[in-house]
Amino acid sequence: MVTPGKKVKTFTIDGKDVSGTEDQTVIEVCRENNIEIPTLCHLEGLSEVGACRLCLIEIKGSNKLLPACVTHVREGLEVITASERLKKYRVKLLELFFSERNHICSVCVSNGICELQNLAQKLGMTHVHYPYLFPKVDVDASHERFVLDNNRCILCTRCVRVCDEIEGAHTWDIMGRGIESRTITDLNKPWGESDSCTSCGKCVAVCPTGALVEKYKNAVDKSFKYKKDKLKFLPYLTTMREVKNEQS
């Protein structure tokens, strides 16, 4: 989408001539041109953080791998999105996600509708070659309608961003570093005791895994709507973002 007043840049993605405005990122231009790039943290309508690193791309002339979601387009860029090296790295990244926390799909309530699981299948991840770490993490089921299971969290921060940027509540944050990182509500209060949470459920809708889910429900439930209807929810996010931008 061309933004008025912004300069248009022309460049190539996987040998294909493409163009975008200077404020666009490579992933946006890829999406516009139906070029697939895997990602777990990027979501149209939310700001970019480059957290999951799955959208890594190669730029000719540079040995560094760059995340497409936070790399802005430039004139004459030669982008490669699907080299053997990238494919290998992406699978390794997925394996690292699976090795860190307990993502046993078979008993997860999001089994079958999980973006992490779908991506693992799509990218051909067959084994986890790293030792499983599985730290003991408690489930927070104190909220009356939703459950936070940090065992399934990949720290994509979609919940943090949607709550802050769209709902305006900023209930969510990330606490700690490395393997100790936890998604928390307010200042690490139980979710059910959060003063800021409006119980709107946007965080549940955008969560790519089974970390934020509806209580008493699982993927076989017809009424497990939030995650299943995610694609219907996305245009709403984009619209709300635009409204907010216009206001500010």
Partner: protein, 474 residues
């Protein structure tokens, strides 16, 4: 000098185990023990998980009988929700549970035990398997495969997949039955009925060749326990527990399954990971009992379906009082397959089965729930406790195979005493000892709440621990 024979692991069963046979100074069998060598710990790692995950999480205990765990787990969750589950949901759960029993019994009899019965206990080990049956009696093999497929297909139609469907959930089932699914199931019934009737007619005369085994394969007085319905008929889903003694007298009736802990105690032995449940009022070992198809046939007043009742009448004629020989588990299993097919037809013929009201919704209203149902191998108990957030704080499962633990130990001792009389073992001798275990169709993965291979090692060990004979089968 006393010696020990070890059979490790046992083949053609579901799970990991070994047998040790202890010989006295004169080389006679003095004791025999069935050791379950796997440990899983489901009861521990489910702690902290939301209660409504329990049915499908606990179903992962076993790939053979996941549906049984789903049903018992969901029933325990129904108790936690304290809801009245819609009638259609109960009927649908019953169909899935019966399909599970049919497919598991078909696996046990046709795939695992029929090689011993049709080919003979002493037949060459290379042929004593399903492929041997395919060569010797293709019709039998075909019917076995057909019956297993019949059960699995219904499970798939209802739950979306054959193994580990997650369609049974707290409060009911997740989706109603469609008229097309019902018709597909009904269409498969005549062929399945024909297959089991042919099998019963063919196999019953063959059972007569096993008089020695009937006398010695776990043929001892014991109690029998299982669920019966309000008409004292065969029941696999709900009902009350009944216990009969070895002469067939009812010693406890209409026991509330929800309060199993008031009358069932579990004993722990250091040499096995499987516990020994017993009927508390009689103590251990007098209070030990058998469960499963044989027990169910012993406790009921009738099956409740016409064709199965005819077969049951023949079964009742086998012995006076309760049928004690564990060899008859096989016959009982075949009768239950017949019953299951008839009962599924009855449930499908009822128009209520198509109702779309098949789930009750609620939040937790109890902090504790017990779910008891009959699994292929016997009475299955799931018991969960939760906190105010709905997270599991404690869980206990008593698995059908566990109930039979003491009986299996007694059974192998009896068979070992009869068939093993020398320091030197023969394949036929050890196969008979193993075949006793197969009668019970133990599911050890379940009972220890493992995965692994099934080769077998038999060791003859003397009192100083030296191996004096060894036999390895792969």
């Amino acid at each position: 000098m006393s010696r020990i024979i070890t059979i490790d692991p046992i083949t053609r069963i579901e799970g990991h185990s070994k047998i040790t046979i202890h010989l006295d100074d004169e080389g006679k069998v003095s004791d025999a023990r069935f050791h379950v060598t796997q440990f899983r710990g489901f009861e521990k790692f489910c702690e902290g998980r939301p209660f409504y995950e329990m049915p499908s999480l606990m179903a992962r205990t076993c790939g053979i009988c996941p549906v049984s765990h789903l049903v018992a787990g969901a029933k325990a969750c129904d108790e936690i929700l304290a809801v009245k589950v819609p009638e259609t949901a109960i009927m649908l759960r019953r169909i899935m549970n019966l399909s599970q029993i049919i497919q598991s019994h078909a696996l046990s009899f046709f795939y695992l035990s029929s090689p011993d019965i049709v080919l003979g206990m002493d037949s060459p080990v290379a042929d004593r398997n399903l492929m041997g049956i395919v060569k010797a009696n293709p019709e039998l093999a075909k019917n076995g495969i057909l019956l297993r497929k019949f059960g699995q297909k219904i499970i798939e139609l209802l739950g979306g997949k054959r193994i580990h469907p997650s369609w049974v959930i707290a409060g009911g089932v997740s989706a109603p039955l469609t008229p097309e699914q019902r018709q597909t199931m009904l269409d498969s019934i005549p062929e399945a009925l024909k297959a089991i009737q042919w099998t019963l007619d063919t196999v019953k005369p063959v059972f007569e060749n096993f008089r020695e085994e009937m006398r010695t394969f776990g043929n001892f007085p014991s109690l029998f326990m299982g669920l019966v319905n309000e008409n004292n008929e065969l029941e696999h889903y709900s009902g009350k527990l009944r216990i009969v003694d070895s002469v067939g007298n009812i010693i406890a009736d209409k026991l509330d399954p929800q309060k199993y802990y008031e009358y069932i105690e579990e004993r722990v032995e250091p040499w096995t990971f499987m516990k020994f449940p017993y009927y508390k009022p009689l103590g251990f070992p007098e209070g030990t009992y058998r469960v499963g198809p044989l027990a169910r046939m012993n406790i009921i007043d009738r099956c409740g379906t016409p064709l199965a009742d005819q077969e049951w009448a023949e079964f009742r004629d086998l012995e006076r009082g309760a049928v004690l020989s564990s060899f008859h588990y096989h016959f009982a299993r075949l009768i239950e397959i017949l019953y299951g097919i008839e009962k599924i037809q009855m449930l499908l013929d009822d128009e209520k089965i198509l109702s779309t009201h098949c789930r009750a919704f609620a939040e937790p209203n109890n902090f504790e729930g017990v779910g008891v149902s009959e699994a292929p191998r016997g009475t299955l108990m799931h018991h969960y406790k939760i906190n105010e957030q709905g997270l599991v704080t404690w869980a206990n499962m008593i698995i059908a195979t566990g109930h039979n633990n003491h009986a299996m130990n007694k059974g192998i001792l009896q068979a070992a005493k009869h068939f093993i009389k020398h320091d030197k073992m023969t394949d036929g001798m050890t196969n008979r000892v193993e075949a006793v275990i197969r009668c019970y169709d133990p599911c050890l993965s379940c009972s220890t709440h493992a995965v692994g291979k099934m080769p077998m090692r038999i060791q003859l060990v003397n009192s100083t621990g030296d191996i004096i004979d060894e036999l390895i089968k792969n």
